[in-house]
């Protein structure tokens, strides 16, 4: 107060514009806020938000979470069978899917189709009808990938016999591990819910020929650092979520000579290399496992409001926040603003789907859109819009990630570490680049575009954190 009398008055005006005009006329500095009720007018949530804002414990917790996230060095070390490496995974008939938990009857078409396909692939069911019955009755169980430190794009199915990438944190003594499945390419694929013989045959080829060859390859190459590949790809037009052409190319450069050094037959080597070369999205699953690894390090810091997971199950969008541990906060997914392939429209689209929003959570994907102007054209935007999207995300993150820089922003680092408080307080939603799946199983990708994370997830997370604090005090 005494300080106020010693200072030149400088005002922030929240509400009636005429008050600001008067202050300006009187000659004092004043700026007005484009005020909207925070949390879309939920009064109690607005109060909780206010009480958490600038809280020293929250600030400290967020610094810790951010530091842990930045400290991770994700390296690709191995290819393994999911059932062998995911803890307790093989104990029962269990399949993993993307996004937050969901009941069978509530699932969208592509996830149902993919789960049925995986049940047949595992030999648990004779056919998809059989699989449907077993999934419905609970004979086959399912869980989110995230419950097993794993991620998968679109339907995100991981079954015990499938190979998974093993990504380790080279900077942690425990060498913390995360996993992802293999990218099958475009067209009729399991992750879009297709489950025909062709699809399952390809999965078996991946299991029996591709995975063992790449396992042997990695023994030749040794661990492959993933952050530098992602960083390099950001300078080559990728944002390593919806565009992975450059990153896939870099990966192939690293793998190809060693593939030729394996004892696999020339036929096998040729098939493996052709498969990698035919799929511009091959790196996506590695990008996701790397992002998951970075964010797992930030999870579970009490009082932290840093978002550690964003994922969709084709119905709901779910997030996890560091200070609230493994708890999911869900809301219906926001619509996708995008372009459709010829012959398809918005009425054919499934709701936003997949674990791949882990890339945005880690500060790439939509957050790095400036590096990938091609992406913004999906919504009829300009390269300027792409850079503005990246800049706007800086207003809702705890900081930036110096490992990932964006040439169009004069090589500024990407915005990283989404702060749920800032999202709710500022009403700026995290942006996500996404593919659009057909709502029916097996049709595949029908478009791509941009969407946002629904506000209510962040509101619920903050309310829960606040209740937790009240309970502890």
């Amino acid at each position: 107060m005494t300080r106020l009398f010693d200072q030149k008055i400088s005002v922030l005006n929240i509400g009636l514009q005429s008050f600001a005009d008067n202050i300006a006329t009187a000659g004092a500095p004043v700026s007005s806020i484009m005020w909207q009720p925070p949390a879309e007018g939920q009064i109690e949530a607005g109060l909780v938000l206010a009480r958490l804002l600038n809280d020293p414990e929250v600030i400290k917790a967020n610094e810790i979470a951010m530091e842990r996230y930045l400290g991770v060095e994700p390296v690709l070390v191995d290819v393994q069978t999911a059932g062998d490496v995911l803890p307790d995974f093989r104990a029962d008939k269990r399949l993993l899917h993307s996004g937050p938990p969901i009941a069978w009857q509530d699932m969208c078409g592509p996830v149902k189709g993919a789960l049925m396909g995986a049940a047949v692939y595992e030999g648990w069911a004779k056919n998809v009808e059989d699989a449907s019955r077993m999934l419905e009755s609970g004979e086959i169980q399912f869980s989110p990938c995230h419950s097993y430190n794993a991620v998968g794009p679109m339907a995100g199915i991981i079954s015990p016999s499938m190979p998974v990438w093993v990504v380790e944190d080279a900077n942690s003594e425990a060498r913390h591990r995360t996993f992802s499945n293999f990218n099958e390419g475009l067209g009729k694929v399991l992750r879009f819910g297709a489950n025909s013989t062709e699809v399952l045959d390809r999965l078996r080829w991946i299991e029996q020929e591709l995975a063992p060859t790449l396992q042997k390859t990695l023994q030749v190459t040794g661990p492959i650092e993933l952050k530098p590949i992602m960083a390099q790809a950001l300078h080559m037009g990728d944002e390593v979520h919806n565009r992975n052409a450059a990153a896939t190319g870099i990966l192939i450069k690293k793998l190809a000579p060693s593939i030729l050094k394996t004892d696999a037959s020339t036929d096998v080597q040729e098939r493996v290399l052709s498969f990698l070369a035919s799929n511009d999205h091959f790196f996506l699953n590695l990008s996701m496992a790397a992002c998951k690894n970075m964010l797992n390090a930030a999870a579970g810091v009490p009082n932290s409001t840093m978002v550690t997971v964003m994922a969709r199950n084709g119905v709901n969008f779910g997030i996890r926040m560091s200070g609230t541990g493994d708890q999911w906060f869900q809301a219906p997914a926001n619509p996708v603003d995008g372009l459709f392939f010829p012959g398809y429209g918005v009425e054919d689209a499934a709701a936003d789907l997949g674990d791949s929003a882990i890339t945005e959570t880690a500060g790439v994907g939509g957050f790095a859109m400036a590096s990938s102007p091609a992406i913004v054209k999906f919504v009829g935007g300009t390269p300027q819009d792409a850079t503005n999207n990246s800049r706007r995300m800086q207003s809702i993150t705890l900081g930036t990630n110096p490992a990932f820089t964006l040439p169009p922003l004069n090589f500024a680092p990407t915005a990283a570490g989404i702060d749920a408080i800032k999202v709710v307080d500022r009403g700026v939603l995290p942006i996500i680049n996404t593919g659009i799946a057909h709502k029916e199983a097996g049709v595949g990708q029908i478009g791509a575009g941009i969407t946002t994370a629904p506000l209510q997830c962040f509101v619920e997370a903050l309310l829960t954190l606040w209740a937790k604090r009240k309970g502890n005090s």
């Binding site: 107060m1 005494t2 300080r3 106020l4 009398f5 030149k8 008055i9 400088s10 005002v11 922030l12 005006n13 929240i14 509400g15 009636l16 005429s18 008050f19 600001a20 008067n22 202050i23 006329t25 009187a26 500095p29 700026s31 007005s32 806020i33 005020w35 909207q36 009720p37 925070p38 007018g41 009064i43 607005g46 109060l47 938000l49 206010a50 009480r51 804002l53 600038n54 809280d55 372009l339 459709f340 392939f341 010829p342 012959g343 091609a374 992406i375 054209k377 999906f378 009829g380 300009t382 300027q384 850079t387 706007r392 207003s395 307080d425 500022r426 009403g427 700026v428 478009g447 791509a448």
Partner: protein, 516 residues
């Protein structure tokens, strides 16, 4: 239905650009179906699915345009347009626009204006406490104009502020002058040695304006909001302001204004006032001055007197002049104005924009022995059954919630108040219409433009119109001219007093003389 298909050999365009062109085509009402894509196997298959015949030769390195519509001529034109789009060189729009993001929260605005030290909050009441708490947590002092903030929330805000050495003015704080800057509804008052703290908005305006009119000025004018001196809040803001003004080298005299506080709170405030080494002038509206005075504390009976005592204190000891009978000149003027009044016109009608003016007028009427009614009655006054009609002596506060629901406060939009003045003037029992005109920032830019017509109408329609008595709360430095306002009112025959207390005394004098 016609179709047109054109193949561009060895023309590559990325799929996103082509999807954009397709999407644009499909938006046109004269196009029924369209596809622009590279002729890959998948795309050709999709084209067939969409109902086009694959009667052309194209491979993966070729680009096709397929459109369908009713009018062949239109299709040809469109096909030409598409060809133009496909072959045109891209235009670089450059990085011309500088990026700016609107500040949608206090924290963002503070990032943009890092030296900000006060948040002025006037959002709807149910959201106001959250915005105030955020501002405090970011280290800002707060003026909370919004009302409808609960006492629990007010206490939470003020306790947080107190622990962090910040000031909260409000909730329901309409006016303040901090470091010479008028905030909310405030007048342009000369800088000077008197620091004022008030729990009453128009009370603060009246006292600061009167100080200005008397030639002195204000160091700080701090509003506390109307609930600060309630038992639950304990006068946190007033006590904070008193300590700050006690330390402030620019402040020589401290003035406190409020309706009578809860007894325990009054005690705390008086104790602090007595400790402070600077003279403290207190005006608790309606309280006995003698009960407050002593140890450097002086008490005033009216708002105007508060200002007079504060200015007096600058040149020695502030003395309270007893307000006696009106001087002869005034009595004669009043007589002159009321000489032709019909004998039925016996009562006083007050129509106020300022709540504290209505309150003070009631207190003075009561002291003069006039009983009456109000929508906001003081002790001894009766509550109006119907606030929209007056009876006998009635003084209404048109800024009260019951009148302002769904409309602007009469200081901003005086039309409702003017209607009331017309209604009272038309009533054949009315002897005097008493009102206030409030100037300053936030108030109507033309506060009496409509009132002139109103009074003129009342006078022309009533051969025996009542007396109009007013006072103009403002200064000669306000955006609206106080001098011109007074001049216009006087030209209509309105008696303009220098302050609310004087205006009320004139009014009671008339009414008492007609009722005796």
């Amino acid at each position: 239905m016609e179709t047109r298909i054109k193949v561009f050999k060895n023309l590559y365009k990325d799929s996103v650009s082509l999807m954009q062109i397709s999407a644009e085509l499909l938006k046109r009402p004269d196009i029924d179906g369209a596809s622009v894509a590279m002729a890959t196997e998948t795309n050709l298959h999709q084209l067939q699915e969409a109902g086009f015949e694959l009667n052309f030769d194209a491979g993966p390195n070729d680009l096709f345009v397929a459109i369908r519509g009713a009018d062949a001529e239109v299709l040809d034109t469109i096909l030409n347009e598409v060809e133009g789009q496909l072959t045109a060189a891209p235009v670089d729009q450059g990085d011309s626009g500088t990026y700016s993001q609107p500040n949608t929260s206090v924290e963002m605005a503070l990032d943009a204006q890092p030296d900000a030290n006060l948040a002025l909050i006037s959002v709807p009441g149910q959201f106001a406490a959250a915005e105030a708490m955020k501002s405090l947590r970011l280290g800002l002092n707060v003026m909370l104009f919004s009302d409808n903030v609960s006492l629990e929330q007010e206490l939470e805000l003020k306790q947080y502020a107190e622990a962090n050495d910040l000031l909260v003015m409000g909730p329901d704080c309409g006016t303040a002058i901090i470091n010479g800057t008028p905030l909310g509804f405030a007048n342009v008052v000369r800088p000077g040695p008197i620091g004022v703290i008030a729990a009453s908005g128009t009370g603060l305006q009246e006292v600061t304006c009167r100080i200005h009119q008397l030639g002195s000025g204000i160091s700080q004018a701090i509003g506390t909001g109307g609930h600060d001196l309630a038992e639950q809040i304990g006068g946190i803001s007033m006590l904070h302001g008193m300590r700050a003004l006690a330390k402030d080298p620019a402040t020589e005299i401290i003035v406190l204004i409020s309706k009578p506080p809860a007894p325990a709170v009054a005690e705390t405030i008086l104790n602090l006032a007595r400790e402070i080494e600077k003279p403290v002038i207190i005006h608790f509206l309606g309280a006995e001055p003698e009960s407050l005075e002593g140890n450097g504390v002086f008490a005033a009976e009216t708002l105007a007197q508060t200002a007079e005592m504060a200015v007096g204190a600058l040149s020695g000891s502030p003395s309270r002049t007893t307000e006696g009978a009106l001087d002869l000149e005034a009595q004669q003027r009043l007589k002159q104005v009321t000489g032709n009044l019909a004998s039925t016109r016996k009562f006083l009608r007050g129509a106020f924009a300022g709540g504290t003016f209505c309150y003070e007028a009631q207190l003075l009427c009561r002291a003069a022995g006039l009983k009456g009614y109000s929508n906001t009655p003081v002790a001894g006054y009766l509550s109006l059954d119907n606030i929209w009609s007056s009876r006998e002596n009635t003084l209404v506060d048109l800024g009260d919630d019951d009148f302002t629901k769904g409309r602007a406060h009469p200081m901003i939009d005086p039309s409702l108040r003017n209607e009331r003045i017309l209604m009272e003037a038309t009533d054949t029992e009315t002897a005097v219409v008493l009102f206030d005109v409030v100037l300053g920032y936030g108030a109507s830019e033309e506060p009496i433009a409509e009132l002139v017509t109103t009074i003129h109408k009342a006078q022309s329609e009533n051969p025996s119109a009542p007396a109009f008595i007013a006072h103009v709360c403002g200064t000669d430095s306000d955006p609206q001219s106080r001098e011109a306002t007074i001049e216009t009112l006087e030209s209509l025959g309105v008696l303009v007093a220098s302050n609310n207390a004087e205006a009320t005394r004139w009014a009671t004098h008339i009414v008492l003389s007609r009722q005796s």
